[in-house]
């Protein structure tokens, strides 16, 4: 039988009472001019009707946000004059940010405290050529071998390159049922925020913190602030979770949520599939958020139920009872609140060198007068774009459909629906990289691979691939790519490469058209 990790509601109540007596909540922040329209619009070229206000309701009450409930349930100790010690339920590990952490353990003669709460796989360096192809880069091969060796030495569950469970760490965590509501989850990877889609507190850490969690299963953490992003209305046809994410970052900027945990709510978020919620939470780090979450609901429970490592039987019933308490209490205080009217969103395309430099597909590359002139100038120079150019007139060379942002079955289905009956433009090389082996096989079962291959897309093995180009999948200097990944930083996909972030449907349509095109006008076949 599997026991559930989280506290039971009765215990939660006790903790809450203790919390109120022992730790009175701080007074609310005074209203700040943090979100002036000027600051908001730095790189924003959209027309969304949005407002933001500091939330000052009920700060002194016992009403708690989802984040606070999970935080309170994981405080191990609150040493005087130091950050609280938070217990970590699940630690995901990959090959790039862990070798130095294991070396640190060995050097200090420490062991892994909870191997059963630690799960490892290889994703960043893995080639997406057919499995069995030798890894030509000896340094990459060494890093992959190092993880395997470390997992053996410290008895950590490891899904190697050839295992059917292998995939991007943020894809396989949920897929295998490790990711569950109410947990604290960390990984030496900034996109750990993805797992917050299940109502868990999940955040990225550096290698020293990886070592810290391996050794102690805890992390000293300063308590972040909270931000509520409420999305009302209905997403228009052709507008996806990715567009919502890009829209949010475009408005608040790449540091708009720094120091905050975002909770997404509103009927649009409720209406998103788990895949869409994962995309949204995944991209929140691009707004600087410490973490992002969506309160678990029936969609969450249905997703988790029956997965290999999910609780079962009696443990499931117990877990479910607890999970249903994981909502922000009505009137709970958030440090910031942002409200978005979904009806004004559109398919987005980034034009610059950070994810906040974004414009609607029907828009134009901005001129130098708005936002930060110098940053705009540097970005346009790197991207090889002229101010005023229509986005739909920008030709592309490459398309990448994949990454922990958009490589799940729903993403592949959406892209395949667009590609069906068409062929990739002769000037474009397009590749599809499923997020995991399980997704690859599921997609093949549905025949999606054939749709892609017939349309001239490459169908490859799972991994992080060209999202960050640590494996051989990279852009050549000057190549322009429509990418479903999460970062359009200079050189991210290859030195001199030019990345435009889009949704899977927009990427597939761009591959076929040879330039960006508005998916809302697409003729599906």
């Amino acid at each position: 039988m599997r026991d559930y990790a989280g506290p039971l509601p009765a215990e939660l109540d006790q903790r809450r009472a203790g919390n109120l007596i022992g730790r009175p909540r701080l007074a609310p922040m005074p209203a700040r001019s943090w979100y002036t329209i000027h600051g908001l619009s730095r790189f924003w070229c959209g027309t969304t009707s949005t407002f933001i206000r500091p939330d000052t309701e009920n700060p002194m009450t016992s009403k708690r946000t989802l984040f606070e409930k999970i935080w309170d349930a994981h405080v191990v100790s609150e040493p005087t004059g130091r950050s609280p010690l938070i217990y970590i339920d699940l630690h995901l590990v990959h090959e790039v940010t862990s070798p130095q952490a294991f070396d640190g353990l060995r050097a200090a003669g420490r062991s892994v405290r909870q191997p059963s709460r630690t799960v490892a796989t290889v994703d960043h360096n893995v080639p997406t050529e057919p499995r069995g192809t030798p890894i030509l880069d000896p340094i990459a091969a060494k890093q992959i071998q190092a993880l395997e060796k470390n997992c053996k030495e410290f008895a950590i569950r490891f899904f190697d390159m050839d295992s059917p469970e292998q995939g991007i760490v943020h894809v396989i965590g949920p897929e295998l049922g490790f990711t569950q509501p109410g947990l604290t989850i960390v990984c030496g990877d900034s996109h750990t925020s993805t797992h917050g889609a299940f109502g868990s507190l999940a955040f990225g850490i550096g290698t020293s913190e990886v070592e810290h969690v391996l050794a102690t299963q805890c992390l000293p953490q300063r308590k972040p602030k909270t931000m509520n992003i409420v999305v009302h209305g209905r997403l228009p046809e052709g507008v996806t979770g990715k567009d919502l994410a890009l829209g949010v970052i475009g408005q608040i900027g790449t540091d708009g949520a720094t120091g905050h945990v975002i909770e997404y709510s509103g009927e649009v978020v409720r209406g998103l599939s788990m895949e869409g919620r994962m995309t949204l939470c995944n991209m929140s780090i691009e707004a600087g958020a410490r973490a992002a979450m969506v309160a678990p609901d029936e969609a969450t429970f249905a997703y988790v139920k029956g997965r290999r490592f999910a609780p079962q039987g009696e443990a499931w019933d117990k877990a479910l009872t607890y999970w249903k308490t994981l909502v922000s209490d009505p009137g709970a205080h958030f440090d910031k609140v942002l409200t978005i009217a979904a009806g004004t969103l559109a398919p987005f395309v980034t034009w610059g060198t950070n994810p906040g430099m974004v414009v609607q597909v029907t828009g134009r590359v901005p001129d130098m007068n708005g936002g930060d002139r110098k940053a705009t100038e540097q970005a346009l120079q790197y991207m090889g774009l002229e101010p005023g150019t229509r986005i739909e007139d920008i030709p592309i060379d490459r398309v990448f459909i994949g990454s922990c942002t958009n490589s799940r079955l729903e993403d592949l289905r959406a892209a395949a629906r667009v590609a069906k009956g068409y062929h990739v433009s002769p000037n474009v090389r397009a590749m599809v990289v499923p997020g995991s082996q399980a997704i690859k096989h599921a997609a093949e079962k549905e025949g999606l691979h054939r749709v892609f291959q017939e349309a001239g897309f490459e169908w490859r093995e799972s991994g992080c691939s060209m999202c960050l180009g640590m494996n051989p999948d990279i852009l050549q200097p000057g190549e322009r790519c429509a990418s479903t990944s999460n970062r359009n930083f200079e050189g991210r996909q290859g030195r001199g490469g030019r990345t435009h972030l889009v949704s899977p449907m927009m990427a597939a349509a761009a591959a076929i058209a040879g330039h960006f095109t508005d998916i809302r006008n697409w003729k599906f076949q």
Binding site: R2, D3, P7, E11, V76, S77, G81, S83, L85, Y87, D89, V96, T97, P99, Q100, D103, R110, R113, Q114, S116, H124, N125, D137, I139, K142, F178, Q180, G188, D189, I205, G206, T207, S208, E209, E211, H212, A215, Q217, C218, L219, R222, T254, D255, T258, G288, R308, F309, P311, D372, K374, A375, L468, M470, R487, F489, E490, G491, R492, R495, G496
Partner: protein, 201 residues
Amino acid sequence: MQPFHKHQGRAVPLDRINVDTDQIIPKQFLKRIERTGFGEFLFYDWRRTPDGKPNESFILNHPCHQGASILIAGKNFGCGSSREHAVWALSDYGFRTVIAPSFADIFANNSTKNGFLNVALTEGEVAELMRRSQQDGYQLTVDLEQRKVYDEQEFSASFQIDDFVRHCLLHGLDDIGLTLQHESDIAAYEARHASPWQSNV
């Protein structure tokens, strides 16, 4: 961990906002499994031309900025990837501290764990330092004890820093050791909460 008390050194201006960790240390250098040796790859794509030669126009390659140990940069420094290699590269190159209006969260955490100080000053103060550090051999002092940044030309600014972070930096503390002092608290917590995956090992 090397303690940080007070540091005087040459300052170099990197007049860019949102300097991300992909720029600080590009991905092709993340495959190494050591903590050292990243300095030569710091800001690689800016510091080197595509054929690997030094890019003369990049600020760190200017002769007057050689030996700099204090970096002045725009807001949201260290955004993006969680790679701690970014801090290792800055340290290995010879930087002890970055002064900027703001820092990304994960980068800030990583810095603390490596005895690397992030100093947040106001936009105006950073702009002033950006201007002053254009001078050949401009020297700045960062004093963590006093929480002050000053030069010999009447610039002086105070900064705020979390007390515990300051304490760790001043004493070069290994915070894993500190956490392990709470062994009984951790064990008690674990006794209350079994792992949901234990039975699947």
